[in-house]
């Protein structure tokens, strides 16, 4: 694994897992219309730079997100799907999990228990 582009406050760490063709990013903080454009910029840059087959987003430090953050995740999903990739969401907190369910996205993203679980999935 290698650290890449240790990032802005919202995405404090990212790393590449070559064996899994994965990029793992930890996201931190509450995300709403104010900072979701920042998240969008980071995620789209990661996808463009590494072209991973799986993007693992550890949301364990995201206690809250709104529909603008959901829209960012969906845009990233659309992007990675074009190259046959998938997005894994891990360590979901209750409010985030609830919003994903309302948005009917809990079965469209791959929801994994933690990063290890996401990287072990086929």
């Amino acid at each position: 694994m290698s650290e890449v582009n240790p990032g802005v406050d919202l995405v404090p760490s990212t790393r590449v897992e070559p064996a899994s063709h994965a990029v793992v990013a930890s996201v931190r903080g509450e995300i709403d219309l104010h900072n979701s454009p920042e998240l969008r910029g980071v995620l789209l840059e990661l996808l463009a730079k590494h072209e991973p087959k799986r993007l693992v987003l550890n949301l364990g430090q995201v206690p809250y997100m709104d529909s603008s953050a959901i829209a960012v995740l969906v845009e990233a999903l659309q992007k990675i799907r074009k190259s046959g990739g998938r997005i894994f969401l891990t360590d979901l907190q209750p409010r985030v999990k609830g919003l994903l369910e309302i948005a009917r996205l809990d079965s469209i993203f791959v929801v994994a228990k933690d990063e290890a679980d996401a990287l072990a999935r086929q």
Binding site: D32, G98, L105
Partner: protein, 156 residues
Amino acid sequence: MTRSSQPTSPPVVDLKVQSDPANIAGVRKAVEDAATGAGLDEKGVAEVGLCVNEAMANVIRHAYGGATDRPIVVAAHCQDGGLVVTIRDWGNGVNPATLPPKPFDPLEPGGLGLICLRRMMDGVTYAPQAGGGMLLVMKKNKPQPGAGGKSERGHE
């Protein structure tokens, strides 16, 4: 959308902010505190907070077209065993409740905020204002003992 009664008690939250997305979190947390004070449970508090967030975001994006220097007035009142939240804007006056419904596609942007309001609040009313803009009134009831509350997986 169902109809909410107009608040009559003094507000426990009364904020006037600019339509800058940076203000959403502070207003949301103030209303969440009011919801806690009104006796809502943790789930209800979270739902009220999210709906305030989504309503403000809709005002900023749609009523004000992204302008960050327009006024938004948010108030919250305890009433009839619950919390009434009002959000006043002076934007384009388009009533979201009158827009033609479109099937919700989770992979298409837009619409999730209004779905949250419909599912999570017990009453939602948009009232166009004579001087321009819109008054949104949202009501959230305290959970009744033994009641299951509104389903998050309810039908559209």
